[in-house]
């Protein structure tokens, strides 16, 4: 890096110069990287925004050049005669900074070079690579033109040729099919698909397989999960109470469908951020706004709901930065961004787009739900009214509301009313607003929510005796019976504009209680301006993100697609395209891809097709020892990378090999078996993990209910994100807990039993035939002779050891099935466990 270079130059050049000043650093100064951090660390405390000792201010170029009370301190282009250099180098009696260590010779050298080079200040930020408009570069001509399948390869080959490195050979057909099946659908190829692919000798057999996979409904599942990492999706609130979010899945459903119909990424963006504002919107576009309902909600008693509403708004602003702009705008919550050109004020301007939104749940029926529901609803309402009349519930509820209103307007008189009101504000959406709204004006959802909460929380306000008098419990039971008879209809958590929008203020030092200036919605000035127009600001923001002028969105989005299929982004720091992020390894390729994405109408399927049909993608992933010194992280892509599968796919692949996987697409979240004691670690043990039954136990990993405070262990063991904040890149760790999980978790043991059963039932002949079948199912390839020999020995040993130990045999293979010899089946369970634990099995080769 240049910074190191600068330091070294300064150090090795020695300290002696004509004037006794340390020499200027060599090389071109990058203000943001080299100078600003130094000024921030050592100078701004006394000569910055807060304080200007001796009238000197160093936090702008004008300030630097204007000097202080004792005159000009910096002469641009002449560091040797700049007083500032004399002061910081100890050439004068007075030394700056007066406290702490003196600046090192290297640091003085940097300041000298900065002054000598004309005091560049901030201008750098406008020239930072990612803020430049995307320009479509010419596709380079390369020597190895025969290798090139599409322009991606030309860019990769161009760089490899400069380094004198040849690409790797294409991976074998079987490896390729398994790789692309896992990447596009998250599922391994079935034995039939393998057979068909091997039999297809047409030159475009691979492309045909790719097209089949892109058309599969499982494509939408795989890529929805990829997006849900960014959307910080979960099925519960987070924080202490971590209450369930029974309708969170409805947003997930939208994402799956959006990928399957290849909703262009610009529309995909606009609908999620501003679907509520679109002219002629359909209900589906409103469901899309669930993206920003995935923020955490704190319902801990005693907290101020406004504080955590505010936190949600700020998270929405920070997430916009991370997901679309690839900028850490959230760093500007407490102060101006230290490295990127984002002012604190600008962060709150982004927040202002979201601050006027309000959380509501709306009816969002799945196909087939609405008719029966509407038909049954009038009868339900009639019976419910009878019930409430009979028990005088309306009166009690009105009285309860009156007490809450009293506590809200006149607190401090009844401790129990105050407490009940506090709890109320945490448990009903827009609680205060709904409470003070005329019941006739409330929406159906709001009315139901108020009544439900009253019936569940009566005891918070009234003494128990009173609730018993009203016979609340009886009402609840009868109402449950009525509700159970009402045909189900789905709801969706969405965001709409509030009719009482609050103003947005800068939070001084990030503290929500400490209001600074009021701000209006706006975008950072370093980026192209937000066009004016008649549309509401948030809709304009969404359109601005995906406009061709925006230099970031297409680059950031395409880089993440790349990251998913190559294991590493062209910009490695896929969540940070700012000055502190990594530079792209192939800048022209990134720009070409970004422009291609826009040219192809933001079609994600087309972009993925382009990537996975490239020669680059199709290379072998075998290591190349001769490149290990030169390119240890495989940034040049002279080969593919072996990638450990994400948590969900390890589960899917295992259940698939076992023949247990439930392939239904979409729907509610499920609770597969997990050991006792996991959910019990929730706050006060409040989370109840009621195991799903039937096929629901075997659904894909992406449908496992994500309870934020006590997430499903297998997901966490394999680095699924905790979903508190947007996750732009998963880690791939390797821990002993993962080994224990795959070896011993009953879910995975059951899968080994399932695979053994398949081997016994679906294959015939001797050990080798059966083993090849098991390999085919699990790894998509036959066993090698060496593997067969080793596993044959293991199988024989196991059969021998099991001998006549009927109890062990029965424990390993409890199913009594006609025509299946139990001892052999039990030995196959053990062989299956080995196969399902292989590194190859949990890896995309």
């Amino acid at each position: 890096m240049l910074r190191e270079g600068l330091l070294c130059c300064a150090l090795f050049a020695g300290l002696a110069t004509a004037q006794g000043l340390p020499p200027a650093a060599k090389g071109k100064i990058d203000f943001a990287r080299d100078v600003e951090p130094l000024l921030a660390r050592r100078c701004f405390m006394c000569h910055g925004a807060q304080q200007q000792m001796s009238g000197l201010r160093l936090d702008s170029r004008e300030g630097v050049l204007a000097g202080g009370k004792s005159g000009i301190d910096v002469k641009a282009g002449d560091s040797a005669n700049s007083r500032l250099i004399h002061l910081v180098s100890g050439a004068e009696k007075k030394v700056m900074p007066p406290m702490g260590a003196h600046l090192t010779a290297a640091e003085v050298g940097i300041l000298r070079a900065w002054i000598d080079q004309g005091v560049p200040y901030s201008a750098h930020t406008a020239t930072h690579w990612s803020f430049q408009k995307v320009r479509r570069p010419a596709v380079p001509a390369v020597k190895n033109a025969a290798w090139v399948r599409n322009p991606i390869d030309a860019f990769i080959a161009d760089r490899l040729e400069k380094e004198n490195i040849a690409p790797s050979p294409e991976a074998g057909k079987l490896t390729l099919l398994r790789r692309v099946s896992l990447d596009l659908t998250g599922l391994p190829p079935t034995p039939e698909e393998i057979r068909d692919f091997l039999a297809d000798t047409r030159p475009d057999a691979y492309e045909r397989a790719v097209d089949r996979l892109l058309a599969s409904p499982h494509y939408g599942e795989k890529w929805a999960r990829w997006w849900l990492d960014l959307a910080r999706y979960a099925d519960s609130d987070g924080y202490e109470k971590d209450r369930a979010r029974p309708w969170a899945w409805r947003y997930r459903q939208w994402v799956i469908e959006a990928f399957n119909r290849d909703l262009p990424f610009d529309q995909f963006t606009i609908q999620q951020l501003a679907g509520d504002l679109l002219p002629n919107r359909d209900p589906d576009m409103l469901v899309a706004t669930g993206f920003n309902r995935n923020t955490l909600t704190n319902r801990e008693g005693g907290t101020d709901p406004e504080q955590f509403r505010d936190e949600q708004v700020l998270d929405r602003a920070a997430t916009l930065g991370t997901v679309w702009l690839g900028l850490t705008v959230g760093c500007a919550q407490c102060h101006n961004h230290k490295y990127d050109p984002i002012l604190q004020k600008e962060f709150y301007q982004i927040a202002a787009f979201f601050n006027t939104q309000e959380e509501v749940n709306v009816m969002a029926p799945m196909p087939g739900e609405l008719g029966p529901y509407l038909a049954a609803r009038p009868e339900f309402e009639r019976k419910r009214k009878e019930l409430f009349d009979e028990y005088k519930v309306y009166d009690a509820e009105a009285d309860w509301e009156a007490k809450l209103k009293e506590a809200a307007t006149n607190p401090g008189h009844h401790d129990d009313w105050d407490f009940a009101y506090g709890e109320f504000t945490h448990n009903v959406d827009s609680a205060k607003k709904v409470l003070f709204r005329d019941p006739a004006q409330r929406s159906e959802v709001q009315r139901d929510q108020m009544m439900d909460y009253f019936l569940s929380a009566c005891g918070n306000l009234y003494p128990k005796e009173h609730c018993e008098e009203v016979r609340v419990r009886e009402v609840r039971t009868k109402l449950n019976e009525l509700e159970a008879r009402l045909p189900a209809v789905s709801y969706a958590p969405v965001l709409v504009e509030s009719d009482t929008p609050p103003k947005t203020y800068v939070h001084i030092k990030g503290d929500w209680r400490d209001r600074g200036d009021e701000v209006q919605p706006g975008t950072p000035t370093v980026l192209p301006p937000l066009p004016a127009g008649p549309e509401p600001p948030r809709l304009r923001l969404a359109r601005w993100l995906v406009s061709p002028e925006n230099p970031l969105t297409a680059r950031v989005a395409v880089n993440r697609l790349w990251q998913e299929v190559f294991g590493r982004g062209i910009v490695f720091t896929s969540g940070d395209f700012g000055t502190q992020g990594d530079r792209p390894t192939h800048p022209e390729l990134l720009d070409w891809l970004a422009s291609e994405y826009m040219q192809r109408g933001w079609s994600t399927k087309q972009m993925l097709r382009l990537m996975v049909t490239s020669a680059t993608y199709r290379q072998s992933s075998h290591a190349r020892p001769e490149l290990e010194g030169k390119d240890p992280s495989n940034t040049l892509l002279a080969r593919q990378s072996r990638l450990r599968l994400p948590a969900e796919l390890i589960r899917d692949e295992t259940l698939s090999a076992a023949g247990l996987l439930d392939l239904r697409v979409g729907g509610r979240s499920v609770r597969p078996p997990q050991p006792k004691g996991v959910a019990e670690l929730s706050y006060g043990g409040s989370v109840k993990w009621v195991e799903s039954t039937g096929a629901d136990r075997y659904r894909r990993g992406m449908y496992i209910l994500f309870q934020r405070t006590v997430p499903y262990p297998q997901l966490m063991n394999f680095d699924a994100p905790n979903s508190n904040l947007s996750c732009t890149r998963r880690e791939r760790t390797d821990t002993p807990l993962q080994a224990l999980n795959l070896l011993n978790d009953p879910v995975f043991f059951e899968a080994a039993q399932g695979l053994a059963l398949r081997v016994m039932r679906e294959s015939a002949g001797g050990f080798r035939n059966r083993l090849d079948y098991a390999f085919q199912v699990a790894l998509g390839r036959p066993a090698s002779d060496k593997e067969a020999a080793r596993l044959g020995q293991y199988y024989d040993d196991t059969v021998r050891q099991l001998g006549s130990d009927d109890a062990t045999v029965a424990a390993l293979f409890p199913n009594k099935l006609e025509g299946v010899p139990e001892r052999e089946a039990a030995a196959w369970v053990e062989v299956s466990r080995v196969l399902l634990n292989l590194d190859e099995f949990i890896t995309r080769e």
Binding site: G238, E240, D242, E300, G301, G302, D304, T328, C331, Y339, D416, D418, F419, G422, T579, G581, S621, A623, R624, P625, P632, S633, R642, R644, P675, V678, L681, Y683, G684, G685, T709, V710, N722, L725, T733, D734, T735, P736, L737, A739, L740, N741, L743, N744, D745, P746, E787, R790, L791, T798, Q801, T808, A811, L812, A826, E830, V834, L838, D839, E840
Partner: protein, 476 residues
């Protein structure tokens, strides 16, 4: 270190130390050497030298979740009697914002009797005589304060140094800084008793550090570590035979692909197997003397669970576990304070004292830092949820002044740090912020808190955020 470096290390982790050295049917290291690929033995969990010579090697953090009442345990305030039933002077509560109680709520005196203990004469309440008997080993801090007045934010602050979710926690930072001394057990273990905590997993999460550094929950029933026991029918020998076959096939695949990750995977399976083998020994108390078991209260109620965890904590640090976090929930006594506090003290008092004494008699206290703390304290004012029941009185959360104690490696025993005003509303001497506690703990471990950093999203993060000072008065 950043994530890219970490990944490079990951790909070589543990292999050379554990895999190549520990087991050797086929010497993978020879295979590597033949290819000229012998890399430096780096492993993210390998023991690392501290920044400067350390007093303490290990930490046992007894986390008393919910906020134990310092007024009824550690910080005697006879003056409360005079104010009992009256609101605090308004100047004392100006601008005060509490979770449930209004600033003008009446003062609640403590019915507890305080007694001085040991040479140092530190006073403790009649609910915790056993802890009192350790007075001369304890550093009592009566001037703690924090930034958050609700549980989850308070716990995020205590363990992650920020109320933001997603930060690495104290145990993860320590493991990242010092590595693990144990070959057979995780380096950061979590034990719990009582009910689940507000913070839950976020109290021992590795945050944005690699998950290698996150706390591993030891469970009180079922498998002590999730999925530690073999499936039904699988004996130890069968598991070993299966792992041998797995290893051979993985090595075969390594030979074909040349991917170092496979070597790492093999090593992880071997460590998993060693955990399976050694955990039963860790949990087996049969070789502990009857006196030891009785001292902790392992075989009786109500101490059983807490005592078992304390004894396990000692056995873990003996076996090289770097950071043991023991949680007990909940001390959140908004109501019925006297009864609930007594119940928790009856559970925690004796085992806590036994742990300190036991560590001391085995010479382990010098190298083990013990901390006993909640995320905040409780108010001098009363909280009344049920006005019809006078015995129902409790106290609200108090972030501005609370107490905790430390003992062991690097800590000066028999000392009291700080002083609160006569009503324990505010601190009047030697304020210690949670960040200062964190800085001091790291100091005891030989870690300079400003240098223990990790680069994430373009900047260096640390446990103490942008604050924290080592509290010299706490140090031996």
């Amino acid at each position: 270190m950043d994530i890219d470096q970490f990944r490079r290390i990951q790909s070589r982790r543990r292999f050379f130390r554990d895999c190549a050295g520990g087991i050797g049917t086929i010497a993978l290291s020879q295979l590597l050497a033949k290819e000229g690929r012998a890399a430096a033995p780096v492993n993210p969990l390998a023991p690392k030298p501290p920044h400067f010579p350390a007093k303490a090697k290990n930490v046992i953090f007894l986390f008393m979740e919910g906020g134990p009442s310092q007024l009824d345990l550690f910080d005697p305030k006879p003056e409360l009697e005079k104010w009992h039933g009256k609101p605090l002077p308004p100047e004392m509560t100006k601008g005060l914002r509490l979770a449930f109680t209004k600033p003008n709520a009446a003062v609640l005196a403590s019915p507890r009797k305080f007694t001085p203990y040991g040479q140092s004469g530190i006073e403790f309440s009649d609910y915790i005589p056993h802890i009192g008997s350790c007075a001369d080993d304890l550093c009592m801090v009566r001037s703690m304060f924090t930034d958050a007045f609700n549980h989850h934010p308070g716990q995020l602050m205590l363990f992650g140094g920020s109320i933001q979710v997603g930060r690495p926690t104290m145990g993860a930072w320590v493991l990242y800084g010092l590595g693990s001394e144990s070959q057979n057990l995780p380096g950061f273990v979590v034990l719990s008793s009582g009910v689940g905590t507000s913070g839950g997993e976020s109290n021992w999460s590795s945050g944005f550090l690699p998950s290698t550094y996150s706390g591993v929950v030891f469970r009180s029933s079922g498998d002590p570590v999730l999925y530690l026991s073999n499936p039904p029918g699988v004996t130890r020998d069968m598991q070993r035979a299966g792992l041998d076959a797995l290893k051979d096939l993985n090595q075969e695949h390594y030979a074909e692909t040349g991917d170092m990750e496979i070597a790492s995977r093999i090593a992880s399976y071997e460590l998993a197997f060693r955990m399976q083998m050694h955990a039963p020994e860790l949990l087996d108390f049969s070789r502990e003397s009857p006196e030891t078991l009785a001292m902790y209260g392992v075989n009786e109620e109500p101490t059983k669970q807490f005592a078992t965890n304390c004894l396990l904590a000692r056995r873990m640090v003996e076996r090289g576990v770097r950071f043991v976090m023991l949680t007990h929930a909940s001390w959140d006594d908004h109501t019925d304070l006297n009864r609930k506090l007594k119940k928790n003290c009856d559970i925690a008092d004796r085992p806590t004292a036994a742990l300190i004494k036991d560590l001391k008699q085995r010479g382990l206290l010098d190298e083990t830092l013990v901390v006993w703390a909640g995320e905040f304290g409780r108010t001098p004012m009363v909280e009344i949820r049920n006005p019809r029941d006078a015995n129902n009185a409790g106290r609200d959360h108090h972030p501005l002044a609370f107490s905790l104690f430390l003992a062991g490696g690097g800590i000066k025993g028999g000392t009291v740090i700080g002083r609160t005003d006569e009503l324990c509303m505010n601190i009047v001497e030697d304020k210690v912020h949670v960040h200062d506690l964190q800085a001091t703990m790291l100091h005891c471990l030989g870690l300079e808190h400003t240098r223990l950093t990790y680069r994430h999203l373009g900047r260096d993060f640390r446990l103490t955020d942008v604050a924290g000072n080592v509290v010299a008065k706490m140090l031996a």
